[in-house]
Point group: C2
Chain length 375, copies 2
């Protein structure tokens, strides 16, 4: 059901191009997945995402569990049917959001108790509960419950890792659905010894895929890439690898060069709502006065709907006037930008050019700092 | 350039079906025009509006004059090019919005001075200025500057009418563009004698079309329909008639029965942003708990994108979660509802069924109160 074929590989870098088979179709990797936190990618319709070439969406277990509720979604035929998306979906475990609640949650070895950010009501996630919720949601790829600790406290990360590993085993035991692939999540902060321990522990459990968690949470880019370098030879080549919550263009390029197959991030849609356009050279703040009379599209080389139809002057007007169409058009452009970038990296793996492509892209790129992660 | 052909007419009611030729294509009447106040119909792309069958959009001179500025739009090729809409556009004169500013404007016989709602800056509209702005915007149909007085003070309305008529003449003198049709606006409040005087005065000036202003501003439905009954025989049959700012479904039906050809209103998109769906029976408040588990579309008989793809339960979730997609999907549905209703009225004029269709529709309809008009 979840066969993963590697179609091409760049021997020098470890970048690979593959196909992951799922019940809702094939995911061509490497791939960038837009995030539909509340069962919608903000400001985009499923038909827009299809036209943008999205083959995978991520949705958030924590949010859907609280509202509208995973059982309601199950009763309406599951998340695909509920949100009108018939291609693959990946759900996270909900753990990341719960741990982000900081003062509103209490952790123990069995699970985590927390208060809803919506109404303050009390809830509890255990590994078993998170699998049950994800079964109700019915995504193609689901995640184990893990703890995402601060990345730079060795003692704490080591202690946390034991809990994360025991939770991974419990998830595996609880997981019964054959039409959902349960991925393990490697943790270990920025510490090579702990990352190695985590990779070895989890690969021994033989998950159908491995996520890399606990990155893009405040550590330096150097530490992120070094961690990916540590993991590349430790994770099985034959299984898909998913770098969680990473969506800055330079991180996608560097991730692909380190053997990553799947990425997701709210960055393109969040930047859109802040009036920013992602471009090859970095980021354009579209409310800037320099665009007021500019008849050019955001990116003259871009083929998206937005760039095919509208000027920077019009986009700037929409952003200044706080019009929803500004969010829509910038979301389309930014999602297209990342999907297209990863698609180009995929093509370059086939042609053997991925190293050259990456070098050229990164030379031209001013790094976009992702905004702080908000619930 | 602006030939108006009457294709069919219902002898009993005065309802008519016609074609209005414009530089950007034919408008099939009767027609409902969605409103794109700030050069965008809120939450909808031009391609969405095209798919919804929109043949005419309205945009607001007051808003565009203030932001981004009519000269900027002219320099970028005009409003059609700026907003990516190649079908007909109608602009109002800006007067209605200025008069809505109440305490922020000062009226004299030559024009009106007002403070911007955006930054408090001082501006002045005269009949000549409003034509100049509308020339810069470049809509197909443009409007004279008029005063929209409180509808029920006979002395004030009479005095105001003299000003409105003199402004209409000044607009006609100032109007030079052959690719823009300048419509006169009949005023006169709820008073038959004043409406008659206004209609006679303006028709003598031989405008290519006539708008009916000053309705749907607080008067009763009975007074609105009585006013349309007064005007129906007074306005020339051979010219298009536009009932300004009216978009409640029962008003569209009653307007068509009284010989109206063009309607516009923010109602469908405003209701959408308030989480309400327009349906044959009236209005559904989609945040209502009764829809939480409802797998049916908003209207099982509706053919719009929203009703073809999504359940009431999903729409309710989007509304409760304040997701932009909720605004998008409800805007599509509501605009489709009104365009479709007027299209059905048009068809019924051809088949001779319009009286019967209207009667059946109105029996089934609980009137939707338009929200108070806001800037």
């Amino acid at each position: 059901m979840f066969e993963f074929e590697i179609e091409a590989m760049d021997e020098r870098s470890g970048a690979r191009a593959g196909k992951l088979h799922t019940p809702h179709g094939i995911i061509h990797t490497p791939i960038f997945a837009p995030v539909g936190t509340q069962a919608t990618v903000k400001a985009l319709r499923p038909s827009d995402l299809r036209e943008l070439g999205s083959e995978l969406l991520l949705s958030n277990t924590y949010h859907l569990y609280l509202r509208p509720g995973d059982r309601l979604i199950r009763d309406l035929g599951g998340l695909h049917s509920f949100m009108g998306w018939d291609r693959p979906i990946l759900t996270d475990s909900g753990g990341f959001q719960v741990f982000s609640l900081s003062k509103r949650r209490k952790l123990d070895d069995d699970g985590v108790t927390f208060r809803s950010h919506l109404d303050g009501s009390s809830h509890r996630f255990t590994p078993e509960k998170c699998i049950e919720i994800q079964e109700n949601l019915g995504a193609d790829i689901i995640m184990v419950l893990d703890e995402c600790p601060p990345p730079d406290d060795h003692d704490y990360v080591r202690e946390s890792l034991a809990r994360t590993h025991s939770w991974a085993e419990r998830c595996l035991v609880r997981h019964k659905t054959s039409d959902q692939a349960l991925f393990g999540i490697v943790q270990g902060g920025i510490f090579p010894d702990l990352r190695e321990a985590s990779a070895k522990y989890l690969t021994a459990l033989d998950f159908p895929g491995y996520a890399i968690g606990g990155l893009s949470v405040g550590e330096s880019k150097k530490d992120m890439y070094a961690t990916l370098d540590v993991l590349d030879p430790l994770l099985p080549q034959s299984k898909p690898r998913y770098l969680m919550g990473v969506g800055a263009a330079d991180d996608l390029v560097n991730g692909v060069l380190r053997g990553i197959d799947i990425f997701d991030c709210v960055l393109p849609t969040r930047l859109a709502r802040h009036g920013a356009a992602m471009v090859t050279g970095g980021r354009l703040n579209m409310s800037n006065g320099q665009f007021a009379h500019d008849p050019e599209p955001i990116d003259p080389n871009c083929t998206c709907y937005t760039c095919s139809h509208f000027s920077r002057a019009y986009i700037r007007h929409l952003v200044k006037a706080n019009e929803i169409l500004g969010h829509i058009l910038l979301s389309m452009h930014n999602v297209h930008f990342l999907i297209d970038l990863v698609r180009k990296l995929r093509s370059a793996v086939f042609t053997g050019d991925v190293g050259h492509f990456a070098e050229k892209f990164l030379q031209n790129y001013e790094r976009i700092e992702p905004d702080s992660i908000l619930l």
